[in-house]
Symmetry: C2
Subunit: 383 residues, 2 copies
Amino acid sequence: MRKVAVLGIGQIKVDEHWDKSLREIGGEAAFLAMQDAGMEKVDALYVGNMLSSMVSGQNQLGTFFGDWIGLWKQEAVKAEAACGSGAAAFRSALMAVASGDVESALVLGVEKMTDKAGRDVTAALATAADADYELEQGVSFVGINALVMRRYMHEFGWKHEDFAPFSINAHANAMHNPYARLREKVSVEKFERSSMVATPINLLDASPVGDGAAAAIIVPAEKVLRKPKVVVAASASATDSIAVHSRKDPMFLNAAYLSSRRAYEMAGVTPEDIDVFELHDAFSIMAALSLEACGFAERGQGVRLGLDNQIHPKGRIPVCTRGGLKARGHPVGATGMYQILEVVQQLRGECAQTQVDGMQIGMAQNIGGSGATILTHILKLES
Amino acid sequence: MRKVAVLGIGQIKVDEHWDKSLREIGGEAAFLAMQDAGMEKVDALYVGNMLSSMVSGQNQLGTFFGDWIGLWKQEAVKAEAACGSGAAAFRSALMAVASGDVESALVLGVEKMTDKAGRDVTAALATAADADYELEQGVSFVGINALVMRRYMHEFGWKHEDFAPFSINAHANAMHNPYARLREKVSVEKFERSSMVATPINLLDASPVGDGAAAAIIVPAEKVLRKPKVVVAASASATDSIAVHSRKDPMFLNAAYLSSRRAYEMAGVTPEDIDVFELHDAFSIMAALSLEACGFAERGQGVRLGLDNQIHPKGRIPVCTRGGLKARGHPVGATGMYQILEVVQQLRGECAQTQVDGMQIGMAQNIGGSGATILTHILKLES
């Protein structure tokens, strides 16, 4: 397996881009990545997307974007794993370059969510859950997560306000990220006063959707002269049942446990070595569960890392350093690529006020469904 | 790059499976493949599918099927390239096994098309075309192909009945394939009398949709003791503009040309060495264009191979030996895997009345959109 490096990155602000189409937002991120990499052409294009067939009436997004950005002949394909589509596309590209069959690849995570009414987007997002065994019961996607959060609070004795630090940290970091959707400060009071979405999940527990696109160029590491050089140290994917009620323990993200353990092993590191963890905080409960499953906290104690002030950029395990899903925004199929780009930015030292000191190793974890498909990538600096 | 072998295959009849769900048809094919391979577990699952989010309200099909068939922890992902999704999933799996990161993979092409009304399925299929520049003009997917066929007839001087041999051959072969949807004989008279769909494409020029699922297990070739041993000699993918009107020449499948040339080179063969060509005859015009682009006929002369009786199982270049899209059926996201399975069956000598003599090398070509994404795989026997 060839070692692979990330040569260039490009992203747009997560926002309601009413004036731009799916085509345009994806194209912008792709061109920025190619410009950053100093390349005009790549061998293959991998697109991560979840909703375009339902929201934009467009499938075949690999070829669609190849067409738009002038890669008229190259291989192209779309990978889909619900909200885990971005990292799934990254891993597909990685396998192709690692195998030796592809010499350079553009990976694009893209989602246009504002071209349909909110209720249609909610219905489209619900395709991430189990249509037969969850949706048929009338439970929405946020409803499923609310049931998990309620049970967690009951089981481990936490109050709702104990989750506030996740939201506060994400929003504080997003204020320094020009690509973040929400750039406003949150306090414990504001967190507690926020409108309820599905008890106990309120608006400040939940990530906002939005239009977004983030892209990277990957090539064999041995071909990269650029410094700092960011290489992919590990890539792993694991799954769980789609329906949360089918799991032995709905409060343990077994797929996060499995994919992070495999990634640590591949990279030859332990949780202590991770300088930044871009986790999938679609809801604040997911931040806590991710920290636990990946070995940063004991069962039921993920919340404590926030309360102990350990998750900010100078803390023991910085998370959501660019705003996370909560404040950078969650354009579902694009999110996994935003996370990977944010780790690259940390490794390159491009994060200004939220830069983590002494960055050597960063981890990005993207989740499809409520913990159903979980992909973990570890990136590091190589001299 | 490690050499990869196809260890097991499984398929169900393409049909209107009113009594079975998406879950059930995919599961059946997957279990048959695992049984054929003598394996109870694989490392990873790759699913090819185009329509499930729109037709069945279900996304994240990789994990969905992992869940259903008992692969609760393994990596899983969906690949989508419209009607080319089946081969796209196969190629994704191939890259992962070839890279050395995955030791065994299940590839499943699956499509459930009968759970919605016909007009909804037609709308869902239209997402394969360019939503902004084709569909907005009001042209349907079959309409786009009809325009190409009309131009081809005009340009090269063929009559409609000259295309009859493609349909006749496909139907004749399907009569011996228990998995084929249409098993009835077609004559030139019947072909010419068939109902018009979009002039000049009539019902016997067009492939029927249907519910279908076809699966294969792939592993590193060096681990396979089973005889006959079927290995993947080449895999290549190429693209063209999605909108047919954007192409310099709408009657030349440039992506088929590029991917077949690359595949011939990888396998070290020429068109003369191909014993069977499972081509993508979604419409009879596509059969002619594929034969031309892949080097079996001169420009405008693909039709002649049919008229000269060269495409049946004892002819110079047997095509659609199990019925092709025309008569086996075209369950869109599953089709690419049916094609690969049919080449495997020919190589194993399992095709009885339509068995090609002296099988050594077979080619399968799967197309997404009207020639937009084209994947070519060459499989061969290895002693």
